[in-house]
Amino acid sequence: MISLERYPREIRLRDGAQLTFRPMIREDADRLWDFFCRIPAEDKMVFREDVSRKEVVERWAENLDYASVLPILALEGDQVVADATLHRNRTGWKQRVGTIRIQIAPDFRERGLGTAMIREMRHLGEKAALRYLRAEAIEEQEAAIGAFEKMGFDRMGVYPNFVNDQKGRLHNLVVLLYPMPYSEVEMNF
């Protein structure tokens, strides 16, 4: 179990915006629903689930299980402005691989929040003793891919025409991996 003692955390963006990072709780269903209502339709096209249906978000809130999916919300006041999730398998051959997903509200993009959330997910991955963090993005999400690469993720491959959006159009999927650091030796002169 990852210790969540560090939450809630106050995070300041470069432009002065003051946000709170904390795990999602059951009572956040409406806040998260409001957040997804503000996400442009073209972004929602590539979600794994149809978040234009409120019952999907309510089901997430009802079935929170931090050991499998740990959602960290970024809030400005009472409003959710970003959602990052760390997905883990408790058993099996991928139990040391965490998958992260990040969604940012349009008015908070290009303000450094995505990078801050990647840093937060890296921290949680370390605390969960994972060996790798994995992220996926469709090739058109250049800003997100660039941010992951800047934070040490390696582009491991591109699967051509691998995923379809909700209108059936095909997209290339980029898979990125971040090897979790454990060696103390490498930082010594």
């Binding site: 940012i104 290009e110 990078t115 921290h123 370390e126 941010a147 930082m187």
Partner: protein, 155 residues
């Protein structure tokens, strides 16, 4: 002026210095979180070694400055449980070791840049843990007489 607190070599000739309540000139890095690491970074970042008219001496000086800078980050990280920051520092050190100290190798500048860039990431990791935004050298550029370039957040 060399700031006695953080060691930043600041230029005051092209603008008005920041002054404290007592009217004395004040270091712009003061109270910014990890001020010595920020100024240590910027000293190299805005150093003459990156300019077209730089000399071998400028390069050697920057090489030593980076070494001291990486050691300073390492000292701070020793007491922190931040594996990602240590990894970034490890990558900075790896790049530093790849630098030809005389600056004659065609890759010398590139490896110096990489070392400085990874060091910057380690500082940003530390700042994130304090809930602070990443360090933006351009915010301090005027103190180094450097040309300002608008910074754009990537994501």
């Amino acid at each position: 002026m060399t700031c006695p607190a953080c060691g930043a070599e600041l230029v005051y000739d092209s603008h008005e210095a920041i002054k404290g309540p007592d009217g004395k000139e004040m270091c712009p890095y003061r109270d910014r979180g990890y001020s010595a690491l920020r100024s240590g970074h910027d000293k190299v970042y805005f150093g003459k070694w990156r300019k077209m008219d730089s000399t071998t001496t400028d390069f050697r000086r920057a090489y030593r400055q980076i070494e001291r800078h990486l050691k300073a980050i390492g000292s701070v990280l020793e007491t922190k449980d931040l594996p990602a920051a240590k990894r970034d520092l490890g990558k900075a050190i790896e790049s530093y070791y790849a630098v030809d100290p005389e600056g004659e190798s065609p890759d010398a500048l590139r490896f110096m840049d990489h070392a400085l860039s990874y060091a910057h990431m380690a500082i940003d990791d530390l700042l994130h843990e304090e809930g602070l935004p990443p360090h933006d050298p351009m915010e301090f550029s005027k103190w180094y007489d450097a040309v300002e370039v608008p910074f754009k957040e990537e994501w």
